[in-house]
Symmetry: C2
Subunit: 330 residues, 2 copies
């Protein structure tokens, strides 16, 4: 595997956050962003990055022309004597939700075969859809004063070999973080050495980043409270509060203590999710936890997500916190 | 200088095309695309890439939801038995026009100093604006059946050292071309080893790409017929049809033969152009010509641009062709 790693990094990464596609898009409407959630997520992210310090005001960083206006307004004049806020280092990765999946599944991009016209067209169409979403997320976070930088995995040299990450330019990601920016990556259509092309999911990207950047913790923001023992829509569904991952990568539920052990944890998976749902998420999360990095799966835009993003769960977990913690245990 | 170059390439690059900011955006209106020009440019580009072969139909590759619609329409079913069109290899680089320049000049991103809050915010704002334009150009070309792939220079690892290109991941560009796609790069805000950050212009990117990818010819699409001896708005302005570049990089006009030699060639430069206008273009073009690669500067969306893109000028230039050719002459 070819990796460009940074020679040195001045300060460690605090957190990698996954903005789940289901949390930031409307899953039952094609290519529609869940603006309300996204705005709260951006606000919570900023608060978490500030590590408790209170800024005088939010410096908006999206100076685009607003629809219906012919001028650009930015409060540049207010910036002159403002200190540069020291943010702790975060990386954001988002899923595709209702963007990209239609294009990918309609053309079969995940199965490869770039020589077929439909796959090639679908590859282009998928990238247009996911980069469109990426731009909107970068803008929403920038409006909240987070210095976001779009880093599309395809352009950053991410490629796969039979769906496993084969190359990735992590040195540009690290340099971007060290320059005080927040890289925003996403699930993407990429070239594959064996298949021609495939879909690289946001979850796989997170695992890879976690492995090489060694953040203190990883947060998955999703649209349900966490991982349940069966589809969360069922009345008896039990929220799994803590999952322990063993040295061999296997995992078991340690809290609550389940009477009837369901081997298979079922969860709601939207039909258009071509990159796997909660099952994939748990196995990816387990691989991250195995590195000694705690993983929190939590509902976006809630008090629970704010606490997880703040890192309040690192030492002890408040009893009233709702979500799933996945930890390594020897 | 750190360069990741491909080990081998299966077929050579035919042409690098610059879509000038002035040609594809409305220069007097902020963040407004010149849709009509862009559509013609896309159509001409596609014709040039087909090398004369007549396709049965255009396979649209932007399957995004149209405004006001809740569904995505794509003519996927028609693709099944269609042969994959063999396009000759093109690379597209576009300028910023009325995108990005406001944000860059307002904050002084080109002067560096990322530690200043205004520069940092302006850096983020500039990238949002230019990546927004990039997405729209990628979509316009994809609608015309060109398999475009957005490759934002920042994410592709382009960085500078006192404004000179210091690193660039050209292997991903080459791999993208070899997979049958058309990379679309653009002028961008990038990190600079010495200054902290700066603006990397589309013209500098083209020169760098030309140097390493060795295309057969380079076409600059602009909003005037070519290079004039004075601002083209003046009644006596003379179109310079051929400029010869010497071994030392100096250049002189060889057609027409000018009576009153104006040492300085003046041209219309929009006030918001922070990366230099026609003067920069000529010196960048001269550096490309010095590599033995012909450069054509021509008005976008005209019969002249179509002929230039087709490569019809390689052997001899028709007398009725209007534009500027910049050639190396020993």
């Amino acid at each position: 595997m070819e990796l460009n790693l940074p020679e040195s990094r001045s300060r460690s990464i605090r957190c990698i956050v996954k903005l789940g596609g289901a949390a930031i898009t409307c899953k039952n409407e094609l290519e529609k962003i869940h603006d309300e959630n996204l705005e709260i997520v951006a606000c919570q992210l900023r608060q978490a990055m500030m590590e408790g310090s209170v800024p005088s005001k939010v410096i908006g960083m999206d100076w685009s022309k607003r629809p219906g206006s012919s001028e650009i307004s930015c409060d540049v004049d207010d910036l002159g004597d403002q200190d540069s806020s020291e943010f702790s280092k975060f990386v954001v990765v988002h899923g595709a939700g209702s963007f990209g999946h239609f294009q990918a599944s309609r053309s079969g991009v995940h199965k490869g075969g770039l020589e077929k016209p439909i796959v090639k067209a679908g590859f282009v169409a998928t990238r247009i859809s996911v980069t469109n979403l990426n731009l909107e997320i970068v803008r929403a976070l920038a409006r909240e004063g987070i210095p976001t930088i779009s880093m599309s995995p395809f352009s950053c040299g991410w490629s796969t070999s039979k769906r496993d990450v084969a190359s990735a330019d992590l040195s540009t990601v690290a340099k971007t973080i060290d320059s005080g920016f927040v890289p925003v990556l996403h699930g993407d259509a990429v070239l594959d050495n064996i298949l021609g092309c495939t879909i690289l999911s946001g979850d796989v990207i997170i695992r890879h980043l976690a492995d090489h950047l060694k953040p203190e913790y990883v947060v998955f923001l999703t649209d349900v409270l966490g991982v349940y023992d069966r589809p969360p829509s069922e009345p008896d569904a039990v929220l799994l509060k803590e999952i322990a991952v063993g040295e061999d990568g296997s995992w078991k539920v340690v809290n609550p203590v389940l009477k009837h052990t369901n081997k298979k944890v079922e969860t709601s998976v939207a039909a258009h999710d071509t990159t796997g749902g909660m099952e994939t998420k748990i196995s990816e999360a387990a691989m991250i936890a195995k590195l000694g990095i705690d993983v929190y799966i939590v509902k976006a835009a809630t008090t629970h997500s704010q606490r997880a993003l703040n890192g309040e769960l690192r030492d002890n977990v408040p009893v009233d916190w709702l979500g799933t913690i996945i930890k390594y245990s020897k």
